[in-house]
């Protein structure tokens, strides 16, 4: 064969090998398997049609928007456990500013985004300056915000939720941008899906086509080597924390406009789903490798399972078991395929 006389250093890698080396492939195969699984046990006949698709994309979109930025942060070597509660804080803050202080919703949204960037900045600065694990720092932020959500809401409204947001000024335009829906047949597709796609495209472009993306991989892979090579590791990590906080506040705004209010406990517990979506999508927990598209695929898998289980008339408590199993399976498959592909030269 011609390859035996060719210098192996200039041999071409086949397309299939190149694809198998990408972290998203394991997730995509997993998503396809799970999709066909639920399609085969569907009792309604709508799972693979417009109705089922509207359902799972509705559940996946708010997870996906945050998961892609959590994936970026994880590739950069850090965790953010305050993302879930930040969703609640953002919605509550926007709702309170508009209902208790009469602000225009758009002004409230602006203040909330600024607040989220500030929280992300504080998370990042504490992590890089003290050297404490980001797991601990953001866990502390999580508890601080969780308590504040309850205490401030009760203080200002006397109850544990913010309501009547639909009566505030600017609601209609804000609702149109963040929470409207498009009817196809009898099903509604939420605009959050569009934002999810845009977030995935932006994060993927940032990660794979910009210098900043290289810095993310470097910071997560080996931050000392990166620093020695001239990568601004601290600035990169702080920016990543600010992005994950901003993404969370974006989802919080979407929710408060769609639900016309928000309960003080909203979002608590969701932070693990974002990390799971990122891990299922091929992002390593140690940092240095991963993919934003993979995180979106992970979010899609969660949406598919959430819709597929009731459509199959299974007891919906199995949802938790299912997520645990796919997490383990996905990480095993990703590791296996990745190792095999990295081992292969051609």
């Amino acid at each position: 064969m011609a390859t035996q006389t060719q210098d192996e250093r200039v041999a071409q890698t086949s397309l299939a090998t190149k694809m198998l080396q990408r972290p998203e492939l394991g997730a995509l195969i997993g998503a396809a398997v799970i999709f066909f699984l639920f399609w085969s046990v569907d009792t309604t006949g709508n799972f693979a049609g417009v109705g089922g698709t509207a359902g799972w994309t509705d559940i996946a979109a708010p997870i996906g928007i945050i998961a892609v930025f959590v994936a970026l942060l994880m590739i950069g070597g850090e965790f953010d456990l305050s993302t879930g509660v930040m969703v609640g804080t953002s919605g509550l803050l926007a709702g309170l500013l508009a209902t208790e202080y009469g602000l225009n919703i758009w002004a409230a949204i602006g203040i909330v985004f600024a607040f989220a960037l500030l929280v992300g900045f504080i998370n990042g600065v504490i992590v890089v300056k003290t050297g404490l694990p980001s797991f601990i720092v953001t866990l502390a932020t999580f508890f601080v915000l969780r308590g504040a959500n309850l205490a401030v809401t009760k203080e200002l409204t006397g109850t544990v939720r913010v309501a009547n947001v639909e009566d505030t000024t600017g609601f209609d335009t804000a609702h149109a941008i963040f929470a409207s829906k498009m009817a196809i047949g009898t099903s509604n597709f939420q605009i959050s899906i569009l934002w999810w796609v845009l977030a995935t495209i932006f994060a993927t472009w940032l990660l794979t086509r910009t210098q900043f993306g290289n810095w993310i991989f470097a910071s997560g892979g080996d931050k000392n080597a990166a620093r020695n090579a001239g990568v601004p590791v601290n600035r990169t990590k702080i920016t990543l924390f600010m992005m994950s906080s901003l993404a969370s506040s974006f989802v919080g705004i979407m929710l408060v406009l769609r639900l016309q209010g928000m309960q003080a406990g909203q979002g608590v517990g969701m932070e693990f789903f974002y990390i799971i979506a990122a891990a299922v999508g091929g992002t390593l927990l140690m940092g240095g490798a991963g993919s934003a598209i993979g995180a979106s695929i992970g979010a899609a898998i969660m949406g598919i399972a959430d819709i597929g289980i009731p459509y199959a008339l299974w007891d919906q408590d199995w949802r938790w078991t299912f997520i645990g199993v796919i997490l383990l399976a996905a990480v095993l498959v990703n590791t296996y395929i990745g190792n095999r592909a990295k081992g292969a030269k051609r």
Partner: protein
């Protein structure tokens, strides 16, 4: 050699994907063909008669968490489905309003002929419920939302009014002679719980103090320690109005016993432990909102609407409580709770 090995692995992966794809398509095609065939034979029949029971699907979408209380409501709903020969799909969103809204939004695609939803946060599910009304799917609210069911497009509400329950509890505490009642709230975001304490405050001749016990059901030992701390802080407390049977039997009662304080303890909802405590004289009463009937009745009301166009309730809520379980009737109820139906 690595080259040939990877070729085989590549081939295996691709073959696996193709095989699964074909299997999925075949299964999907089978079920689609099956559905198409059955709908053809049905449509001839349904032109003149109501849908056959086996085709009716009633969906019960609550904010429940699958604990002692909600598993009984779910049992009631599913038993109604069994008794009537229809399909019942129960889903609890574990106190997540956004999730509950998304589930209700998907009810039409899930082929629900009727939807029963609990409404602790009406604003969150308002759009989804009104969407169902527009699509011609009948709805009722259950368990929470007695004041807002019409705004949500439902034709009635099945449940217990929280303020009424609180008021009755306040009167009971008056009969017992309680003067300083502690009211621990185990779900901070549940307005209904706050309303129970408020109702008690209205009729009680003593004082009723709310106490934050958020997350109490997830960690009962911590909840017990917190109640103990509250009791130590105020020695004049002589009664506890617990708002959940597990809180009463596994948090409040142990706290009182550890301190050696003899308190009047009343609770809302029942559990085997709580009823045994009432039988033993350690607790005084349990308010029963009869959630098994909330589940069962919601399904029946929707079934009657789908099959015979009934919209029952007369525009008012239908009450399943408060019923009181105390020393006089506890033995009978104990047997039913052990069976998981009360």
């Amino acid at each position: 050699m690595r080259g040939p090995n990877l070729d085989i692995k590549k081939l295996a992966v691709l073959t696996g994907v193709v095989a699964l794809t074909l299997a999925g398509c075949a299964a999907g095609a089978d079920s689609d063909a099956g559905e198409a065939a059955s709908t053809e034979t049905e449509s001839a029949a349904t032109e003149t008669a109501a849908p056959a029971n086996s085709d009716i699907k009633i969906c019960v979408y609550t904010h429940g968490d699958g604990g002692t209380f909600w598993s009984v409501a779910q049992a009631g709903a599913e038993k109604a489905g069994e008794d009537l020969g229809i399909t019942v799909d129960y889903q609890g969103s574990t106190n997540d309003s956004a999730r509950q809204a998304a589930i209700i939004e998907g009810a039409v695609s899930a082929e629900c002929d009727g939807v029963a939803a609990s409404a602790p946060d009406p604003g969150a599910i308002e759009q989804a419920m009104l969407g169902l009304a527009d699509a011609g799917v009948p709805t009722v609210t259950m368990n929470s939302g007695s004041a807002v069911f019409k705004d949500l497009g439902a034709f009635t509400h099945v449940g217990q009014d929280e303020i009424v329950a609180g008021r009755e509890a306040g009167l009971r505490f008056n009969e017992l002679g309680a003067t300083n009642i502690l009211c621990p709230i185990q779900e901070a975001a549940n307005i209904g719980l706050t309303e129970r304490c408020q109702g008690a405050r209205e009729t009680s001749t003593g004082t009723v103090t709310d106490f934050n016990l958020d997350g109490g059901l997830q960690d009962l030992t911590a909840a017990s320690a917190k109640i103990k701390a509250a009791l130590e802080a105020d020695p004049t407390i002589d009664a506890i109005f617990a708002l959940n049977a597990d809180i009463a039997a596994k948090a409040a009662l142990p706290a009182a016993q550890e301190l050696g304080r003899d308190l009047f303890i009343g609770t809302v909802d029942m559990s085997e432990d709580a009823l045994n405590a009432i039988a033993a004289g350690e607790m005084q009463f349990a308010i029963d909102q009869q959630q098994y009937a909330q589940g069962y009745l919601s399904v029946v009301l929707l079934y009657l609407n789908v099959t015979n166009a009934h919209a029952l309730g007369g525009g008012l809520p239908m009450y399943t409580g408060p019923g009181f379980v105390d020393a006089s009737n506890v033995e009978q109820v104990i047997g039913l709770v052990a069976a998981g139906t009360r």
